[in-house]
C-alpha cells in the first residue's frame, strides 16, 4: 500500500460522509459499506472483492438509521473502506474483515460529533455575514468552508486510520496465520447476531418462523436471486391518485426558481449540518433563489427574509419537500412571517416522523438488500437495479414534493401523507424484510463457513441457527445489543487463546 492509495481511501471516506453534491442519493448509496467497499476495491484494483466484502459488512448495517443528528451504530462508510482494504491486502475472508472493521467504524462517531460542532461555528459565522447583507456568505459557510474542512479532515484522518489498521492487522496476522480463522468465526457469529437484532427491531408475529424456514430453504436449495425482488416489485406497484384540486399559477415565482431551490436543497441538506440548527442553514440556502426573485429590488427585505429562514429546521429531506414548495408559495403570497414560521415548524416534525418510517425504514433497507444480494451472488444487474430504484425514488419524491407543495399547498401535504399511509410496500414490508434478510444471511454464511475448513458446510451453516435462537431469546429478554456484541468478541478471543 502506497501513501497515495491511503490518501485515495481517505477521499472515499470524504465522499461517503459528505453526502453533498449527490442529489440526496449519496446518503443511501455512497455512505453504505457495499458502495464504499466497491470504491475501495476499485482503488486497490480488485473491485469485485471490495464489493463482496463491503456487501457482507453491509449486512451488519442494514438497520442503520440516522434521525436528527444521532449516530449510534458506527460509521457504515468507514466500516466498508477498512474491511475491504484489509480483505484485499491480506486475502482474508469477508466475515474476518467485518470483525476488524466494525470496532474501527465506531471511531467515526467521534468524528461525527466533531463535525456537527465545527459546523455550529460555520453556521454562526454564515448568519453573521448574512445579517450584514453579504449574500455570498451563505454559499461560503453552507458549502465551501464545511466541505473543505470535511474534505481535509476525512482525507487525512480516514487515510491515517486506514494506515494504522493496515499495520495492526498485518502484525496480528503475521504472528499467527491461524488467527484469521478465529476472526472469521467471530465475524460469522456477528452476522448471525446482526440478523437477530434486525429480527427483533422489525418484530412481527411470524418473524422467527419465516426467518428460520427461509434460512433453511436457502441453505438446502437454490433460490432464484430475482424471485424476491420481482415479487417486491409486483407488490409495490400501485396507481397514484392524482390531486384533483386547483393548481396555483405562477405569480412572481418562476418554475425555474423551484428547480433551483430544489437543486440547492437536495445537494446541500447536510453540507453544514450542526447540532444547533440541524438543516436550518440549508433551508435558508434553498430559499436564496426564491427571495432573489420575490425581492429583486429590495435587498433589505431579501436579507431579512433569508435570516428568518435560518431558524432551526429538520425534516426527512426527500419526503418532506412539500414543506418547501408550500413555504415558497406562502412567501410569494407575502403571508405574515409568524404564520409561516408556525407552519414550517409544525410540519417539519410530522414529515420527518412519517418520512423516516418510509425512506430509512422501508425503501433503503429493501434496495440495499438488493445491492448486497447482487454482490454476494455476482448478479450485478440486481445491485444496479436496487441502486437505480433508490436513486429514482429520492429524485422523484423530492422534486414532486417541491412542485406539488407550491401548486397545491396544504393538499399536497395531505396527499403525501395518504401516499405513505396507503403505500402497499409499507404494508407488506415486514414479510419481505424478513425473508430477504434471512436469504442474504444464509447466502453469506454458506460462503463464510466454507472458509473455516469444515467438511460439512451446509450442516455448519444450519447449526448457526442455534446462535440465532439464543440471540433472539436474549434480545427478547431486553439484553442490550452492546452486551451481546462485546460477548461475541470475548468468546472469539477466549476460543483463540485456549484452543
Amino acid at each position: 500500500m502506497t501513501l497515495f492509495k491511503f490518501i485515495l481511501l481517505g477521499i472515499i471516506y470524504y465522499i461517503g460522509n459528505s453526502t453533498s453534491f449527490t442529489f440526496g442519493i449519496g446518503y443511501f448509496t455512497l455512505y453504505r459499506p457495499a458502495f464504499s467497499g466497491l470504491l475501495t476495491g476499485l482503488v486497490l484494483g480488485e473491485p469485485e472483492v471490495g464489493f463482496f466484502v463491503g456487501a457482507v459488512i453491509n449486512i451488519f448495517f442494514i438497520g442503520f438509521k440516522s434521525t436528527g443528528g444521532s449516530l449510534k451504530d458506527g460509521d457504515p462508510c468507514l466500516a466498508g473502506i477498512i474491511g475491504s482494504m484489509i480483505a484485499i491486502n491480506y486475502k482474508i475472508p469477508a466475515a474476518a474483515a467485518l470483525t476488524i472493521a466494525y470496532p474501527a467504524s465506531l471511531i467515526g462517531i467521534i468524528f461525527w460529533k466533531y463535525r456537527l460542532n465545527l459546523n455550529s461555528y460555520y453556521v454562526k459565522e454564515g448568519i453573521k455575514g448574512l445579517k450584514k447583507g453579504d449574500l455570498n456568505s451563505i454559499n461560503q459557510y453552507d458549502i465551501y468552508y464545511p466541505q473543505m474542512s470535511l474534505f481535509i479532515f476525512n482525507t487525512v484522518i480516514g487515510g491515517f486510520l486506514a494506515f494504522i489498521i493496515y499495520k495492526i492487522t498485518g502484525a496480528v496476522i503475521s504472528s499467527d496465520i491461524e488467527i484469521i480463522k478465529y476472526l472469521n468465526f467471530t465475524g460469522i457469529i456477528l452476522i448471525t447476531l446482526g440478523g437477530a437484532i434486525l429480527s427483533i427491531n422489525h418484530r412481527w408475529k411470524y418473524t422467527i418462523y419465516f426467518f428460520t424456514s427461509f434460512y433453511i430453504f436457502n441453505i438446502l436449495f437454490k433460490l432464484d436471486p430475482y424471485l424476491i425482488p420481482v415479487l417486491i416489485a409486483i407488490v409495490s406497484v400501485q396507481k397514484n391518485r392524482r390531486i384533483k384540486h386547483t393548481k396555483k399559477e405562477f405569480d412572481l415565482i418562476k418554475k425555474s426558481d423551484l428547480y433551483k431551490s430544489w437543486f440547492i436543497w437536495m445537494n446541500f441538506t447536510h453540507s453544514c449540518y450542526s447540532f444547533e440548527k440541524l438543516q436550518g442553514f440549508a433551508f435558508c440556502h434553498s430559499m436564496l433563489p426564491v427571495f432573489k426573485r420575490i425581492y429583486r429590488k429590495d435587498k433589505e427585505q431579501m436579507v431579512k427574509s433569508l435570516v428568518r429562514h435560518t431558524d432551526y429546521f429538520n425534516t426527512e429531506p426527500n419526503i418532506g419537500t412539500p414543506i418547501h414548495g408550500y413555504i415558497i408559495r406562502l412567501e410569494e403570497e407575502k403571508r405574515r412571517p409568524r404564520e409561516i414560521k408556525e407552519i414550517k415548524e409544525g410540519l417539519m416534525g410530522i414529515m420527518a416522523g412519517m418520512g423516516d418510517s418510509v425512506t430509512q425504514t422501508v425503501l433503503s433497507p429493501l434496495t440495499t438488500m438488493a445491492v448486497i444480494y447482487g454482490a454476494l451472488t455476482g448478479e450485478y444487474i440486481l445491485a444496479i437495479g436496487g441502486t437505480l430504484v433508490m436513486a429514482a425514488a429520492v429524485v422523484y419524491l423530492s422534486l414532486k414534493g417541491y412542485l406539488d407543495g407550491y401548486y397545491y399547498g396544504e393538499e399536497a401535504l395531505e396527499e403525501r401523507i395518504k401516499f405513505s399511509n396507503n403505500s402497499r410496500i409499507v404494508k407488506f414490508f415486514p414479510f419481505f424484510f424478513i425473508i430477504s434478510i434471512s436469504t442474504i444471511i444464509a447466502k453469506s454464511q454458506v460462503l463464510s463457513v466454507s472458509k473455516l475448513g469444515v467438511s460439512n458446510i451446509k450442516g455448519a451453516a444450519l447449526s448457526l441457527l442455534i446462535f440465532y435462537f439464543i440471540f433472539y431469546f436474549l434480545l427478547n429478554k431486553k439484553i442490550k445489543d452492546e452486551i451481546l456484541l462485546i460477548s461475541v468478541y470475548l468468546i472469539g478471543l477466549v476460543l483463540m487463546i485456549f484452543t
Binding site: 444521532s70 449510534k72 440541524l278 407552519i343 409544525g346 410530522i350 425504514t361 395531505e414 401523507i417
Partner: protein, 157 residues
C-alpha cells in the same frame, strides 16, 4: 387514570426519533400533544393526526383539557409530547402529574445558548426546567432509547 410511559420535551413533537426510535421500544395506546397553538391550527392538528402511526390514537390538548383527560376514568398508556418545558410547569402547578421528564430536542433561538448537543435554552426555559425539578420531576436528557440518560441538574444548575 393514565399511565405516562414517556413525557418528552421536543420542539419537533412527533418526528423520526419518536416514530422509528422510541415507539419501537415502548408500548403506548395514545400519543398526547399538549400545545395551545397547535390545537388551534386546524391544518396542523389534522395533518398530525393523519401522519402519526396508525395503530395509535393521537390527541392534541390544551393544558386544561389534558388535566381533565388525565383524571378521567379510562386507563391508557400514553406518550406525552410538548414543545416547551413551560407547558409542563403549568400542569405541575395545577396537579403534580410528572415524575420523570425526558428532554429530547430544543433547537437554537436568538436568545438561547447551547446546553448539550441538541439542546439549546434561553433563560426562561432554564427557569422552567428548575421549576420542574422543584415540583418533584426528574429531568433527563436522552435523545433515543439506546442513549444513556444524562441528568440535567448537573448541567444547568
Amino acid at each position: 387514570m393514565k399511565n405516562i410511559i414517556l413525557a418528552r420535551i421536543d420542539d419537533r413533537l412527533i418526528h423520526g426519533q419518536i416514530t422509528i426510535g422510541w415507539l419501537k421500544k415502548i408500548k403506548v395506546d395514545s400519543i398526547v400533544i399538549i400545545d395551545e397553538e397547535f390545537r388551534k391550527n386546524n391544518f396542523l392538528s389534522s395533518i398530525t393526526k393523519k401522519a402519526a402511526p396508525k395503530e395509535l390514537k393521537t390527541k392534541i390538548f390544551s393544558v386544561e383539557e389534558f388535566i381533565d383527560y388525565y383524571n378521567s376514568d379510562v386507563e391508557e398508556d400514553i406518550l406525552v409530547l410538548v414543545k416547551q418545558p413551560g407547558i409542563l410547569v403549568k400542569i405541575q402547578n395545577r396537579q403534580k402529574i410528572f415524575t420523570e421528564i425526558n428532554l429530547g430536542n430544543l433547537g437554537s433561538k436568538d436568545d438561547s445558548t447551547k446546553i448539550y448537543k441538541n439542546i439549546n435554552m434561553n433563560i426562561k426555559e432554564k427557569d422552567s426546567i428548575r421549576n420542574l425539578i422543584k415540583s418533584g420531576g426528574s429531568v433527563f436528557i436522552q435523545m433515543l432509547p439506546e442513549d444513556s440518560r444524562v441528568n440535567i441538574e448537573k448541567i444547568i444548575l
